[in-house]
């Protein structure tokens, strides 16, 4: 009975880790659509979100079924509850990718990001990608030591977002209000993607160490 429980739990965690890969691609594609003003990629990110939602719901149903049929307690219970919450994090990261893709789409055929800010957005997307990857490995291996690095990456994300805001608000900003509004929101979306990765990692840390970080 217990062996079967862990087998099913492992399968659920595997699927969650796979979904993390899908979300990573959504973030990367949304960024590509944004920087290259590529309408086709933007549409594919927007349309693809329903796959992330569906995958989330399927994994969620299986977790609830396992909860109901095997009635885990203590750490096993906490792990299943943590899994349900991480699914919410992943779903939100998918939604945020759609927001990025929609900003991209609204400004086509131009890019919503002025050329000199491409490196900043590229860096934010790279940090987000690395953060989701770290979170995914922390979930897969329950390696809480890797969580420290993720907090560093989160600091880097904050730094990049502040740089971005400083650019928009500096005297050398000559693009007017509309691109500034887009970029302020884009900065917020990437920051939130990173926050959700941190939130996933913290749930694992809490499971393993019993400490809220």
């Amino acid at each position: 009975m217990r062996d079967q429980y862990y087998e099913q739990l492992d399968a659920i965690v595997d699927d969650l880790v796979n979904l993390t890969g899908t979300v990573r691609r959504a973030v990367a594609d949304a960024t590509k659509a944004l920087l290259e003003a590529d309408a086709q990629i933007a549409e594919s990110v927007i349309a693809g979100d329903k796959d992330i939602d569906e995958a989330t719901e399927i994994i969620e149903e299986r977790a609830l079924l396992l909860l109901a049929t095997q009635q885990p307690v203590a750490t096993d219970l906490r792990q299943l509850v943590a899994t349900l919450r991480m699914l919410t994090d992943l779903q939100r990261m998918g939604d945020l990718s759609v927001h990025v893709a929609k900003v991209a789409r609204r400004r086509m055929p131009d890019s919503a990001v002025p050329e000199h800010l491409h490196p900043t957005i590229t860096a934010m997307a790279a940090v987000a990608d690395s953060m989701i990857d770290s979170a995914s490995r922390i979930v897969a291996d329950r390696n809480v030591d890797a969580a420290g690095q993720l907090e560093n990456e989160d600091d880097e994300m904050d730094r990049l977002r502040k740089d971005l805001l400083r650019s928009l608000l500096g005297d050398s900003w000559t693009y007017g209000v509309e691109p500034a509004v887009d970029l302020a929101l884009l900065g917020r979306y990437y920051e939130r993607i990173g926050d959700h990765a941190v939130s996933m990692a913290r749930r694992v840390v809490y499971l393993v160490t019993g400490q809220l970080s």
Copy 2:
């Protein structure tokens, strides 16, 4: 045993509904701090967030304990899981109030909102307040009929946010980039507060009807 279960579940739901009241006050106070540039109120919202976090954690622990000791199945299980998720919604609404209060604080002694946009922000805050109130009553009474009104309020929130963005991007905008960036983010924060209220209501609707709206 079952009676005791429902008694404990009712107590948890009561506490969740009470917490909803605290979150409503945080949103209202943050708005007051923003429009009146009141530093003291802004600080109290920022400091008060840890109370919301602590209350969330206490209710969460009790829900997990009930889950572990009484091992509910079927609808009872789903209701407890829904409760855990609604706690996450409430915690996020608290965080978003802090974001509003921090924008207010950053622009003091001025208000971050130009006078002619006070009515729009006041309206967004009023809709958010009414949405949290609706969500709270839907949770307390499991009255799914009220959920329809909440979706209307959500449409109203979207409309207000679009109005706000149009103001920022119109030719008559003479305040420059910085207030526009603040207002774009503020609009996003109020919209997200409303989204979390909708998310709470949808969880109740799903529990009662078994239908994802």
